[in-house]
């Protein structure tokens, strides 16, 4: 019997981010003959690109889009930069934006679509604020200009509490009860595998550095269309947070997803598909 292979291919990209050498892991899948609208996917805090494996294996999407999902530095199979052992990892609006733009430039992507979830959704809002002309469309999942914290991140990285297990246990409540158990536990497994302090470092951006209140009012959706989708079971970024954000952005398209939580693409791939396919169809129509 022929080997059963998933369609996505993984590679390592050498690039500089803010002048520092990095080796970034990414996976991609696209139309058989090449081409396709580039669609760059950003994973959530403390996780990696495996969250997008269902999208990367969906022929209805990859027949039109060249889907690329990369592991952020320090995440998944992207190693931290040399000398990491002497620093405390902290993601900032500046460093996150730089990483995304560096990836898109190094891959020579022509005005890609960027879709991000959670911290990835928040940074997508910053791309819309500061770099809209570089993108064809932007999709922010589980995103808002600001969210109220709901636990003390000091518990995420200390020697007397298992980092992977506490990260997974905390975020487990953000998954909708209707999510298939296999997908729920696969989502949590990725959280259990994060490097020490990485989830906490990502949340520095989310809680301290990435407050976009007021700034979202400057987003011009005529320059770059923006779509916001949030799961009704996400109590970290609530429906109200997303709707409040959307109310400040003329022309934004917003949708609340039923029976979905904070990790739509990985916790309930089939349900997420129902919501994301129409959005991708619109973007595809705009690009043709």
């Amino acid at each position: 019997m022929a080997p059963q292979l998933d369609p996505m291919v993984g590679r390592y990209l050498r690039l500089k981010i803010d002048g520092v050498d990095h080796r970034i892991y990414f996976e991609e899948a696209g139309p058989k003959g090449g081409g396709g609208i580039p669609l760059v996917c950003l994973h959530t805090a403390g996780a990696d690109n495996r969250q997008y494996r269902h999208l990367l294996a969906d022929p209805e999407i990859t027949s039109r889009f060249r889907v690329l999902a990369f592991d952020m530095p320090w995440h998944g199979k992207s190693t931290p930069p040399d000398g990491w052992e002497k620093t405390e990892y902290r993601l900032t609006t500046t460093s996150y934006t730089a990483a995304i733009r560096a990836f898109c430039a190094a891959m020579e992507l022509d005005r890609p679509v960027v879709m991000g979830c959670s911290i990835g959704g928040r940074i997508v809002l910053n791309l819309a604020i500061a770099h809209a002309t570089e993108f064809r469309a932007l999709i922010a999942l589980e995103a808002a200009d600001f969210q109220q914290p709901w636990y003390d991140t000091a518990w995420l990285h200390r020697p007397d509490v298992h980092g992977g297990e506490v990260c997974a246990a905390l975020v487990s409540g953000l998954i909708a009860p209707q999510s298939p158990p296999v997908s729920r536990h696969e989502t949590l497994w990725m959280y259990m595998q994060g490097g020490p302090g990485v989830f906490k470092g990502d949340l520095y951006f989310y809680r301290v550095d990435g407050d976009l209140r007021e700034k979202v009012k400057t987003i011009d959706t005529k320059v770059c269309p923006l779509y916001l989708l949030t799961g009704e079971y996400d109590f970290s970024c609530t429906s109200e947070d997303t709707l409040r954000t959307a109310a400040q952005i003329p022309g934004v398209e917003v949708q609340i997803m039923k029976h979905v939580g904070h990790f739509p693409m990985s916790e309930h791939p089939a349900k997420f598909r129902e919501y994301i396919l129409p959005v991708l169809a619109k973007i595809s129509a705009l690009s043709s």
């Binding site: 636990y151 518990w155 297990e165 246990a169 909708a176 109590f235």
Partner: protein, 127 residues
Amino acid sequence: MTPADRFARLPDLLADDTDLQRRGRWVTVDCRVDVGEQPFFLGLENGALAAFERGTRLMRSSAFTIRADKEAWTQHWQVEPPPGWHDLFALTKRGVASMEGDFRPLLQNLQFFKDLLALPRRLSSEG
């Protein structure tokens, strides 16, 4: 059945869940759970309930206390709890539950405690 009556069934519910006991095999701690006005004292030993007492106990110490009002537990224990009522931290964020005391044993075993406190969901069909 009142929410407190449902929680009173916890020893049977845990005894029936060998997987949860396996995952909790390192958990040995005394803690308190308040269902509305009704306190429960849980003495956990190696993931099993060695002691379980309902009602006020003078000067009983416990490492931590989790309390929520009756409506919060009722919503939390629905088979499919509504958004915002489905997780312990969703309840604390909306201000209908609280946690106090030494958080270390709680966070060292967080998934165990979340699953333990969700066990009365299995009684939902009984009303």
